[in-house]
Symmetry: C2
Subunit: 412 residues, 2 copies
């Protein structure tokens, strides 16, 4: 019997009415002949409330205790979900991460899944039960509760789908799927029917909040078909899957923006091997996550090295940069705290020309100044002034016809 | 190094301020040279809120899922408690029932503790940590979460004190200790310095809400010195311990009332062996908890059998009685739903005379009619009309001088 994993996020289980609606979707799937494993998040704002309770007692709470605390939110949801299913006539059983031996490493608050006892779950499924698993959590080898970090329930769901060789992993959320761009900003954005793992990874890392990046990476690695869909309607959603040849015909799948970014430049660092390595090692030590990196030669002896960070990490990044300024005898450090990134993503870029040209042309026509440019194999990002980013997104979306389904574009 | 177990109930950990105050008591105990194990309940009204959430989804929720749900309340408290201790400079670690292998039977919602891994706790204590254990919960042999029933945190604490051979088990609550009678009703009641397990068992079963009866039974069985004390002051509280000879000098240690009781009588049942057994087996099947039982012979063929139940259980008990009426061909069934019990308790009754006489005399003088009388080795209970029970309690308390410390009583 084929297995489907259905993941319901916090907004989809926020109250009794929503839990019942989610339970109804589970029953429909069973009636369609599937065994169903549910992964659920904490209800509504519960996790935020628990964090607030913790900080009231300890501004710097031990991570182990934080994980012990936060994991209760999901445990509550899954037991309530099981009760709802039983009331609707289905057999159901709930499990914590520990109970299904969702074994992780011991990195509290950011644990990585190592293995899961899929046989244990199969035995329950084979007894005709819906198995409901608390997302976001696992246990380390000593039995300590660990959590997987923000968005970790997506990762739990995809990892379970992989372990159980599920036909599909449905991620229920409050939007119809993945859009060509954020519809709150680019109103004409259209929903994608499918998108490749690589594109979704770029989209997720560039601020498209619909799925957590680690869950997509797990899906790619274990070849899990992921379907992002709305818990409140029957829209088939967006399928995230391996790249298929026809995807290459689509030049650009989506565009994203990242706001609240800052840029730091070290002007005149020694143009010798190892400089960049030293700079980024020091930033990593200070736990600063660096986004884009740009290095250019000024002259044979000197180079300029700049990088983009989240605005929240600017103070830490700036402190490191100031230290390095004297250590490396560089000429100057500059900081820009009002930048944003606009990016286009598409596997089609690998085989087709003219994407960069068209993007820069669109921005020029919209009179948006480009501060700097970075690219990957399937992405082009431009740093622009914060105040111009929404206009930039709209210009780029229209240039790539992201207001139309892929098959209707002139340039598909 | 000697170990002390400190148990904090829901009102003692209801908010951040109270958790900090409880943590302060733990630190004081450590500074006095003890290793400390804390057992904590769910914060304030949390358990009631979770029960309400559950019933909204399922009026008859599966007990396994109910236990999975309710256990989260204690898990939240213990992690927050650990954070508070760490913020105050102590090393601390929290555990769920499952994490310390608090193994129980599989009777959800009313599980009995079978064993606990005391070595695991000792290792953490020997690292200088305060060990904070979620009360009220355990796991069965399959890893399912179980709960011990209302008041179960007291039982967790006493069981841990037994397993760890703790010097003392302190039960922190919102009163100064165990009183000769409920001070809300008999204003002149005095706190007892000590009380025997047997007396406390009778008091608890007769409605003195200060401690859960099962925890006292565990304490008696494993010889755990229990101290009931107020979390908000330094009063030394009441020690519950084995009976010592001088306790016998005290005629009556305390008096209690139980309200919301009902009495059912079966008049004219066959006066043959096995009748009572049949009646109480049927009541047990219907999960009716029977308090006092009175059987008297009417004539050589017929007897009258009556029993007292909580008013809430009257409908179920009455249904059983009506069935039995026709099966046993008894003459009549009567129901009194407005009775209350007033009881006096004291191990001194075993060796001294005149207790019953003095009690009945006090009630007669107060013009309280006695419906029926039952006794145990260390207790006398009178059923009276509900409206007269507070007056009855006062009369009995004054007759036995329960407004004075034991050593000041004329009749001690």
């Amino acid at each position: 019997m084929a297995i489907v994993v259905q993941k319901f996020g916090g907004t989809s289980v926020a109250d009794a009415k929503k839990i019942r609606r989610a339970a109804k979707r589970v029953i429909e799937k069973m009636q369609a002949g599937y065994q169903v494993v549910v992964v659920a998040s904490a209800r509504g704002q519960q996790t935020d409330e628990l964090v607030r309770d913790a900080l009231e007692l300890n501004p710097n709470p031990p991570q182990r205790e934080m994980d012990q605390l936060l994991s209760t939110g999901e445990q509550q949801t899954v037991s309530l979900f099981a009760m709802a299913l039983e009331a609707m006539g289905s057999k159901a059983i709930s499990f914590t991460g520990g109970q299904i031996h969702m074994l992780t490493d011991g990195i509290f608050s950011k644990a990585q899944i190592k293995s899961v006892d899929s046989e244990f779950i199969r035995r329950e499924l084979d007894q005709g039960k819906v198995v409901i698993v608390a997302g976001f959590q696992g246990v380390d080898e000593y039995g300590n509760v660990t959590t997987l970090g923000r968005g970790g329930s997506d990762t739990s769901a995809v990892a379970l789908a992989a372990a159980l060789k599920a036909e599909e992993c449905e991620i229920f959320t409050d939007v119809d799927g993945v859009y060509t761009a954020d519809p709150r900003i680019f109103k004409k954005a259209v929903k994608l029917d499918e998108i490749s793992y690589d594109e979704m990874l770029e989209m997720a890392s560039l601020g498209a909040g619909v799925m957590h990046i680690r869950s997509v990476a797990v899906g790619k690695r274990y070849n899990v078909k992921i379907r992002v869909r709305n818990s409140e309607n029957e829209n088939p959603g967006t399928i995230i899957t391996h790249e298929v040849p026809q995807m290459e015909g689509i030049l650009v799948s989506g565009a994203t923006i990242q706001t609240d970014m800052a840029k730091i430049g070290l002007i005149g660092v020694p143009n010798v091997p190892g400089t960049a390595a030293k700079v980024f090692a020091r930033l990593a030590q200070a736990k600063v996550v660096v986004d884009d990196i740009i290095q250019t030669e000024i002259n044979p002896e000197k180079a300029s090295l700049s990088f983009v960070v989240a605005a929240a990490e600017l103070p830490a990044a700036k402190a490191v940069a100031e230290e390095l300024k004297s250590e490396l005898h560089c000429d100057n450090v500059f900081v820009r705290d009002n930048i944003a990134l606009v990016s286009v993503i598409g596997v089609g870029m690998r085989s087709q020309y003219g994407v960069a040209e068209r993007m820069f042309g669109a921005l020029a026509k919209a009179k948006v100044n480009i501060d700097s440019i970075t690219t990957s194999e399937i992405r082009i990002s431009c740093a622009v002034d914060h105040s111009e980013v929404e206009r930039a997104l709209e210009a780029v979306c229209l240039a790539f016809e992201l207001d139309k389904p892929a098959r209707q574009r002139r340039t598909a």
